[in-house]
């Protein structure tokens, strides 16, 4: 009973906060509301962990489904009208068409089937939901707090953009509410509702600056997500027609592959669009025009995770089916191709975007494979990726405000210019690709999971290449940051403490989660896997000890800088015998003065965005097509 209230609190509280934030026009008021409610949400999600600890999956039927369903339906229709209106105003006919189809499907469902379907338990929670709730509750609230400082600075330096901060923060909290709703809903109609709300929030936040680029990108994000929404609606109507009234997630999972596979494939497709898998990757890259906290919250740590969340939920249905393999293939190829494209990107946010797409691809691959080992890897990836990536986004945001650039090459010597933020960034990057941090543990788990399944070696090969490329683009970025330039001054200045608090907490989290990873695994993941698969995956004791040892070494070694050392003789870098000045200028032939400029390799010739993306779109579309055809045929014959 208590848990039920807690879930309802987590869903409704951010909604109420959103309302107040919409009204709060003063900076002070807003700051207090955001900080206090972020704290409340964080505490509530931790409390949820404590109160559901060791209880397994809990189903809740406390809420009257009928009236809630009607309210949701009305809201859905309102959203549809709103989107329809915008689509017509901006002449985005694709959006108009999709929203019409979607609404028609839902309307038909509501009129014909809704009254005959009764879902026993509308809400539920298990270890996986709790993990997601912790990500939303902790990382989400940290990012909201960060946004306070960021948005203030943003509007001070972009007077041309209308200051709509009350609206911005309201949407942010509305989004949090929708995310909580999404992970706690058992009723698929509810999931669908919250799903649409996150799409809407993402659309509104991408278009926040109202520039032409932002508007276009917002609409492109919208139509792709609406396409997923149509597929989701299709799944609901299919279940209503052929599914004997099944509408709960748990019932669907229990209903066996014959009934569940087609709706699962449709929902899985919706998951692919939301997780920005190829061929739908471009919306997430375009979404980078949004203010950076939005990218951190929606487009890396939470909303796109909704896509993979739903896939992981449905994984038992996908396990060892052709449909599952095709989804996994789409994910694996997205991982490979997006990692490659990331090499050629010089804009830091685009690197982050492509790396996000790549990692989501890896999670999708694990979900499509669907064995207990793969799911173990997938959930670990979700957790660790959320932490490291949001840390990286936020530090890029802070840096961007100071150096007025998002280019990786402009971050040369950041360790001198902004030592503290550079350190945060290095932790974030190391967290993404180096042992013993979480992402690497998860990749390791993924390799082991892939080997054990039929034809898994294909996935292992893709993973091996993808992660080699990952090493390349992260390491060259990290090298830029830690290069010690002789001519730079510390320009860090006063970082807003709300930004600072978020950054430090996230950096701390990435160490702590790596340290407590064994606990996370045994206390949360293993019960979840046990319940759903009857098996558990884990790392052996020795390996855990070794990794903790590595982590300690990595913590201790940098401290050695503090040990007083003999002063070494400093000499200028070797420049082929040329004398350089302090700021690395030298006289070239004929005495013309030149400045030394170092730039990363981007290898456009091999990893160019246009070429790789086109190839990826075709290949992955083909796989998705095959998936649908095969699933449909199977549905017909069985």
């Amino acid at each position: 009973m208590l848990t039920t209230q807690l879930l309802i609190f987590l869903i409704l509280f951010p909604l109420i906060v959103a309302f107040f934030l919409f009204l709060a026009k003063k900076d002070m008021e807003r700051a207090w509301i955001v900080k206090l409610s972020a704290l409340a949400i964080g505490i509530a999600s931790v409390y949820l962990l404590i109160s559901t600890y060791n209880k397994g999956a809990l189903l809740m039927s406390a809420i009257p489904a009928e009236p809630t369903g009607i309210v949701m339906f009305i809201l859905e229709m309102l959203i549809a009208v709103f989107i329809l209106y915008l689509g017509i105003v901006y002449k985005k006919w694709l959006v108009v068409a999709l929203i019409l189809v979607q609404s028609a499907v839902m309307l038909y469902f509501e009129l014909v089937y809704a009254h005959s379907i009764h879902v026993q338990s509308n809400l539920f929670t298990d270890e996986f939901s709790v993990i997601m709730a912790l990500i939303i509750g902790i990382i989400g609230s940290l990012i909201s707090v960060y946004s306070l400082g960021y948005m203030k600075f943003f509007h001070e330096h972009h007077p041309e953009i209308p200051d709509r901060r009350p609206w911005f923060f309201a949407i942010l909290f509305l989004f949090l509410s929708a995310m909580f709703g999404l992970v706690f809903s058992n009723n698929l109609m509810w999931v669908y509702f919250f799903w649409e709300v996150t799409t809407l929030c993402s659309f509104l936040l991408i278009g926040y600056t109202k520039t032409e680029e932002a508007t276009n990108n917002a609409f492109s994000a919208l139509w792709m997500n609406l396409l997923g929404g149509v597929a989701f609606a299709g799944a609901i109507i299919y279940l209503a027609m052929f599914g004997n009234g099944i509408m709960g997630m748990t019932d669907l999972l229990a209903s066996g592959k014959i009934i569940a596979l087609i709706p699962a494939a449709l929902i899985g497709f919706a998951g692919l669009t939301k997780a920005a898998q190829l061929p739908f990757s471009s919306w997430l890259v375009g979404a980078m025009v949004a203010p950076t906290p939005v990218s951190a919250l929606l487009h890396s740590s939470t909303m796109v995770k909704a896509g993979v969340y739903i896939l992981v939920r449905l994984a038992p249905i996908f396990q060892s089916t052709f449909t599952g393999y095709m989804i996994a293939m789409v994910g694996a190829l997205t991982f490979l191709i997006a990692s490659g494209i990331a090499i050629s990107q010089s804009n830091a946010k685009r690197v982050l975007a492509y790396s996000t797409i790549a990692n989501l691809g890896l999670i999708v691959a694990c979900a499509g494979i669907g064995t207990y080992e793969a799911i173990w890897a997938a959930i670990l990836l979700i957790v660790f990726h959320a932490i490291s990536k949001s840390l990286l986004f936020l530090s890029v945001g802070t840096v961007e405000h100071r150096i007025k650039s998002r280019e990786v090459d402009d971050m040369n010597g950041l360790i001198v210019r902004m030592p503290k933020i550079a350190a945060m960034m290095v932790i974030g990057i190391a967290g993404m690709f180096l042992a013993p941090f979480g992402m690497l543990i998860s990749k390791w788990a993924a390799i082991r999971a892939f080997i054990d399944v039929p034809y898994g070696f294909l996935f292992v090969i893709i993973l091996a290449f993808g992660s080699a490329m990952t090493v390349y683009f992260w390491a060259k970025w990290m090298g830029k940051i830690i290069a010690v330039t002789s001519d730079s001054k510390n320009i860090e200045g006063e970082v807003d403490h709300s930004e600072w608090a978020a950054l430090v907490s996230l950096a701390g989290l990435s160490f702590i989660t790596t340290l407590v990873f064994p606990l996370l695994s045994t206390k949360l993941l293993e019960p979840f896997l046990m319940l759903n698969y009857g098996h558990v995956a884990q790392l052996s004791q020795d390996n855990i000890i070794i990794m903790i040892l590595m982590l300690l070494l990595l913590v201790i070694l940098p401290l050695s800088i503090l040990i007083p050392q003999r002063k070494h003789k400093h000499v200028a870098p070797y420049m082929g015998g040329r004398t350089t000045t302090h700021d690395m200028r030298f006289s070239g032939s004929l005495g013309v003065q030149k400045k030394t400029v170092l730039s990363n390799y981007y290898l456009h010739e091999y990893f160019g965005e246009a070429k790789l993306r086109t190839a990826g779109i075709w290949i992955c579309s083909a796989f998705i097509g095959i998936m649908f055809i095969a699933t449909a045929l199977r549905g017909v014959f069985l």
């Binding site: 040369n412 010597g413 360790i415 180096l434 042992a435 013993p436 690497l440 390791w444 390799i447 082991r448 080997i451 034809y455 070696f457 294909l458 292992v460 090969i461 993973l463 091996a464 290449f465 992660s467 080699a468 490329m469 090493v471 390349y472 390491a475 060259k476 990290m478 090298g479 830029k480 830690i482 290069a483 010690v484 002789s486 052996s540 020795d542 390996n543 070794i546 990794m547 590595m550 070494l553 070694l557 940098p558 050695s560 800088i561 050392q565 003999r566 070494h568 003789k569 400093h570 000499v571 200028a572 870098p573 070797y574 420049m575 082929g576 690395m584 030394t596 170092l598 990363n600 390799y601």
Partner: protein, 287 residues
Amino acid sequence: MINIVWAIVFVLVAPVIGGLVAGIDRKITAHMQGRVGPSILQPFYDVGKLFEKEQTVVNDTQTFYAICYIIFMIFTGALFFAGGDLLLVIFALTLAQIFLVMGAFAANSPYSYVGAERELLQIMAYEPMVILTAVGMFVATKSFNVSDIAATTTPVVLLIPGIFLGFLYVLTIKLRKSPFDISTSHHAHQEIVKGVTTEFSGPSLGLIEITHWYETVFLLGFVYLFFGFNPLIGIAAVIIVYLLEILIDNTNARVRWQFVVKSSWLIAVIVGVVNLAALYLLSGGLK
């Protein structure tokens, strides 16, 4: 499963063996070129000399990275010889390598910068094959633990001959031998500048040299794993492989990095797919 004794033996003995291997390498190379060549203890003299020299730096962070490089390389090798998990060993190796690259980046000097980028390309070139090697060994022996793989009675190399050849191919990159020494090379190779090690001098360069010795021993240990079923054949194979590497080193000119990346990826894809597929089908995967 973890055997501390072997780890300690590695830490103490590997530099001696690695240094000797480097010395013998130079001697054989000289003979191949019709020269007398230096004493086989020359690598020790070189490192001894480097520690007698003054430490000059572009900035102080460089020495930190050099120290991290050697510590994590020792860690990698120790973990390997202690019988740890092969994938974890590979990840630790990458970590060590990244520290070298960071040391080169930190100097903010054009030559070491180019060296660092090329070192990264090199890592990108060999990494898939190395991971596939570990996977191949797992498929052949059903274990990722070095201790199990080394003690197996299965003739690993016969099950994964393709992967063995692929590994030999990238081993040339790892040992920094021509034609694949694209970021820096060993001993008496004529270099325009020294790539990734350009800005290291004196003791920190000495540390890097010692790290290479550790690395060589670790890599030769990796080769041995293919022949773990028979220690005699294993040791013979390690010797033959190294001699082969010296031969390749002396008969090939350096190629462009494009060729290194493309060819090693191509080989990794081919041997990876063919060999793993063959193993999979043979072991009745189609049931």
